[in-house]
């Protein structure tokens, strides 16, 4: 019988038992990792963005080392790839894609949206990035420099968008609530 024909429950049991026997990962560690994976969502990244909008020191930490900044607000990063943070400003916009597969900062954004993994997005984000942004409702002025970050190797990347006008005086919870998944991939901009 080939692996493809094997009963998936038995296959999983065989793999987890081998992981334990070889001292790679215990059952408890697997359960803990599953809990962390299921808890990850764009809400985690949104908390980082909101904090960075309010706290210049946190912003500096986030730009220097995204993983440290995530851990600083209680997001588990053990065993995760390094997290790079791309800062948008008045002259620069970032768009993240993984043309080779679907590398994504899952620890802080959760599971990637289906379109992020589509061949169409992956091909067009590098060839016609401004065109694809328009389809997401984002028209970049000509004066903005667009940097398309192709996530090809060991880093995972998230965008730190600009704080939108009309949010003056808002608290962290209010700001967190307006930051969406797409804002941190770079296909959309946060709206007040």
């Amino acid at each position: 019988m080939s692996l493809i024909e094997a009963d998936s429950e038995r296959l999983l049991a065989a793999v987890t038992s081998l992981l334990a026997q070889k001292g790679i990962a215990s059952d408890d560690e697997l359960v803990e990792r599953q809990r962390v994976t299921d808890a990850a969502s764009p809400g985690q990244g949104a908390r980082m963005v909101a904090r960075a909008w309010l706290d210049p020191e946190y912003r500096a930490l986030m730009l220097a080392d995204g993983a440290k900044a995530a851990e600083a607000i209680g997001i588990p990063m053990r065993g995760m790839p390094p997290l790079g943070v791309l800062e948008n400003d008045a002259e620069t916009h970032h768009l993240v894609v993984c043309t080779l597969c679907s590398c994504y900062p899952r620890a802080v954004l959760g599971y990637p949206p289906l379109w992020f993994k589509s061949a169409a997005y992956r091909a067009r984000a590098v060839r016609d990035p401004r065109g694809i942004l328009v389809e997401f409702g984002t028209t970049l002025p000509d004066s903005i420099r667009l940097r398309v970050v192709d996530s090809t190797a060991d880093y995972r990347w998230m965008v730190l968008p600009m704080r939108p006008a009309g949010t003056e005086g808002w608290n962290e919870a209010q700001l967190t609530a307006i930051v969406r998944e797409g804002d941190m991939i770079g296909v959309t901009l946060p709206q007040a």
């Binding site: 390094p82 080779l100 590098v126 990035p129 940097r147 398309v148 190797a153």
Partner: protein, 94 residues
């Protein structure tokens, strides 16, 4: 180690035509010229790691390419920024 600002050319090489391999250098950049932005760190080389061979930790760089030159379309000034391992980068003689 390549310093920020170093002009490089991505090797015009197609190992996938010679046998099984695992490459993190996209096709669309093979043979293209770009500029090193910064060293991101040293990481186990995926072309060995994927086959469970001993994998040396090699320098990984963020390299910037002019987007319109790569695709023959686009907006002047737009850039592609890509993680590339040192063995794929050839320095261009000044």
């Amino acid at each position: 180690m390549l310093a920020p600002g170093t002009e490089i050319r991505v090797k015009l090489d197609w190992p996938e035509t010679r046998g099984p391999c695992h490459i993190r250098t996209p096709h669309y950049l093979r043979g293209r010229t770009g500029t090193v932005e910064r060293h991101l760190g040293d990481f186990p080389y995926p072309e060995d790691l994927a086959f469970a061979r001993p994998a040396a930790r090699l320098p990984l760089y963020h390299v910037r390419f002019d987007q319109p030159s790569v695709w023959g379309q686009g907006h002047t000034g737009d850039a592609l920024v890509v993680e590339l391992f040192e063995p794929w980068l050839e320095t261009i003689a000044p």
